[in-house]
């Protein structure tokens, strides 16, 4: 029986993985419909109808069509409150506010420099694009400053938003995974005591291990 929940995009995409990790945490069955971005699948008219910015992922269930990975994750948590990890988005308003705060911090402060580094260090060489040392240095400095804040926070709290694993921690998994496993700059995370400890915990979750397996089954783009 085919599930109505569909995620569109390649499993190697960080944003697609963010959604997949969330669906796995929430125990929600889904179908991953891969796209070949090297062939421009994401810019074709049929796809642009559901994702007009030509980005991945796109998401559909029987009620709705959505874009933006963090919006999809929030929707999944709200639509399936009783499934899987019930505390993923907090079980009271103050917990949820703290999770939203760190989800925003991820989106606004962690994501831009870490994405730039992942692109420059892991993807550009594979795509035969010349690396930009200036961009690398600039983003390393930016990311270091952000991780200094995280280091302090994670010395006071087991996870970012509190003592329970949440959507805020999950949202960091895709970029952090690439930094640690696909570049030689992983120690930016692992050399910091508290960030390193946190990374060890969150990357060992069953849901994330399943995502990594799924990625390994894919050939390179």
């Amino acid at each position: 029986m085919a599930t109505p929940v569909k995620v569109y995009g390649p499993p190697l995409s960080t944003a697609v993985c963010r959604v997949v990790a969330c669906l796995l945490e929430k125990d929600v069955e889904f179908q991953l419909i891969s796209l070949n971005m090297a062939k421009g699948d994401h810019k074709k008219p049929d796809f642009l109808k559901i994702q007009p910015f030509g980005q991945v992922p796109a998401f559909q269930d029987e009620k709705i069509s959505l874009l933006e990975s963090r919006a999809i994750c929030r929707y999944v948590c709200e639509n399936y409150p009783e499934k899987g990890n019930k505390g993923l988005f907090g079980t009271n308003p103050l917990a949820k506010a703290s999770i939203d705060q760190w989800l925003e911090a991820e989106g606004q402060s962690f994501n831009p420099p870490s994405s730039a580094l992942v692109f420059q260090l892991a993807l550009a060489p594979r795509m035969n694009i010349k690396q930009d040392e200036g961009v690398i240095k600039q983003n390393e400095e930016k990311l270091a400053k952000v991780l200094d804040v995280y280091e302090k926070r994670l010395g006071e709290s087991r996870f970012l938003a509190g003592d329970e694993f949440s959507l805020a921690d999950l949202s960091h998994l895709p970029n952090a995974h690439y930094l640690v496993n696909a570049t030689d700059r992983g120690e930016i995370l692992t050399s910091r005591d508290n960030v390193g400890r946190w990374w060890g915990e969150i990357s060992n979750r069953d849901s994330w291990k399943k995502v990594v397996d799924m990625q390994k089954q894919q050939h390179s783009p």
């Binding site: 007009p52 910015f53 929030r74 308003p93 506010a97 703290s98 939203d100 705060q101």
Partner: protein, 211 residues
Amino acid sequence: MVVKVYGPAYASPKRVIVCLIEKQIEFETAPVDLIKGEHRNPEYLKLQPFGALPVIQDGDFTLYESRAIIRYYAEKYRSQGTELLGKTIEERGLVEQWLEVEAHNYHPPIYEMTVQLLFASKLGLSVDEKLVKKSEEKLGKVLDVYEERLSKSNYLAGDFFSLADLSHLPFTQYLVGPMEKEYMIRDRKHVSAWWDDISNRPSWKKVLELY
């Protein structure tokens, strides 16, 4: 107990203030001078460790990131003021979608333009014209998608005003005002009508009057 919002002179805190006004929530403000570097003071960093604006204090509760703050208050005060989250889970999903589009597609280029065109000279830096041009092109492409969307619905998430539209107010006000790029809005018929609608809301007019 009154909500205290830091940094009302700047754009992101105004995102919070306009939401509080829409939800009829009492608040007060505390100034933070970015040019003087007050966001780097130890007392401020205790509240907002990234040194960014805004942060709110609500009794013992502290919260930062404007889009997290507006979600919290829109939900907490669901039963008063304007409904900003849609009425159903699906409508909420669309509000979240367009709030994320604003955060990740609209905000980065318009923020670059703001820094370059409105703040660089105040900070003693020269304007990076190439970056401004690149950002304007990026923003134009995003506005083209908005134009298509707004030809099908009155507001971004549907036929109801929401946090998603509200989130665009502060920086778009910079765009049409001091940045002198109103043409980017006016050249697009549906974006133009949407902008007129949302920027003429009494709440936004109040923000501009006060700060």
